[in-house]
Amino acid sequence: MIYLRLFLVFLQIGAFTFGGGYGMIPLIRESVLRYGWLTEGDFISVLAVAESTPGPIAINMATFVGASQGGILGSLAATLGVVLPSFVLILLIAALIRNLLKYKGVQAFLSGVRPCVAALILATALTMGLRTLIGVTTLRGGFFVDPKAIAIFALLLLGGFALKKWRKKSPSPIVMILLSAGLGILFYS
């Protein structure tokens, strides 16, 4: 039953990912690859859409993955799943334990979780980078270096850095995505 599975997988994603949208990407990626809901390439494309449309990235991803697997009901099931744990937990906190963060145990738990989230995001970027730039998925699979992708990556690094120096703040994801779309057409056509 695809609806139940979508609901449960996104319920798990909603319940165990800390740090908001980017913190949720590692587990979302793992899950969609594991169940074969999207290929890595599709996942990245969908992520680009989720970043360049308004709204929370996690909701956007859940809706899209749900729709791709089970139409409107699928997207409802996935979105409900990803929202429900937050909703219940925050209700409990707001109603009963507003000083939750002042407990020593909670603080100690989070002192381990915070660096873990940073590492999960970095490791995900690293494995996706290996895959996109030099075609390495696993050590057995061989590799395929894509010099154009590496050139685009270098230009994005440079462009992002220049924009940051010039405007005094990091460029928005949409600016970078538009820039990369232009570079993609330039390099690959």
Partner: protein, 187 residues
């Protein structure tokens, strides 16, 4: 009733016009509920942000539920959460209907090869940003290094290990370490 409608419309607006996820929303939320409507004071807003960031789930949903509840109880939290989700849901569902056909256009497919590289760049820079905000201590350094190495190695050797476990293990390490410290202090 009027409060519920205002909450719903405010969150609908915020859901429809903030790009880039939860953190981008926080500035808008503050403007709307602290500066304009004064439904929350500055201090409670900061408490809310700390809670939204430290509990699982999307920051936007956490904030909507919290602010909704503090303003109008259970129904407040329900309409706020619905409001912040609906724009995403409608827009993305609409896009998903013709996304495959869209990707098959030649120039779009070229553009997306560039965009895929950009997504890697964006995730990496988000990771670096989170890294910079960490407390600088040995626990953080060791955990970051260990998790990056283990997770990358597992993926290269095709070992399946859910990131849920990394989070639970690291949380347990944090707890254990603080208990040890307490034990040492007592002696």
């Amino acid at each position: 009733m009027k409060t519920l409608r205002t909450l719903f419309l405010s969150f609908l607006k915020i859901g429809a016009f903030t790009f880039g996820g939860g953190y981008a929303m926080l500035a808008l939320l503050e403007n709307e509920f602290v500066s304009k409507k004064a439904w929350l004071d500055k201090e409670e807003f900061l408490d809310m942000v700390a809670i939204a960031e430290s509990t699982p789930g999307p920051v936007a949903i956490n904030s909507a539920t919290y602010i909704g509840y503090r303003t109008a109880g259970f129904w407040g939290s329900l309409v706020s959460t619905l409001g912040v989700c609906i724009p995403s849901f409608v827009i993305i569902y609409g896009i998903s209907l013709f996304f495959d056909a869209f990707l098959r256009l030649t120039y779009v497919s070229y553009a997306f090869r560039g965009i895929q590289v950009c997504v890697v760049y964006l995730i990496a820079s988000a990771g670096v940003k989170v890294l910079k905000n960490l407390e600088r201590n040995w626990l953080s350094r060791c955990i970051v290094l260990a998790v990056v190495l283990v997770m990358t190695a597992f993926s290269l050797f095709a070992v399946r290990f859910s990131s849920v476990f990394y989070i639970l293990i690291c949380g347990a390490i944090g707890l254990a370490l603080s208990l040890c410290r307490k034990g040492v202090e007592r002696e």
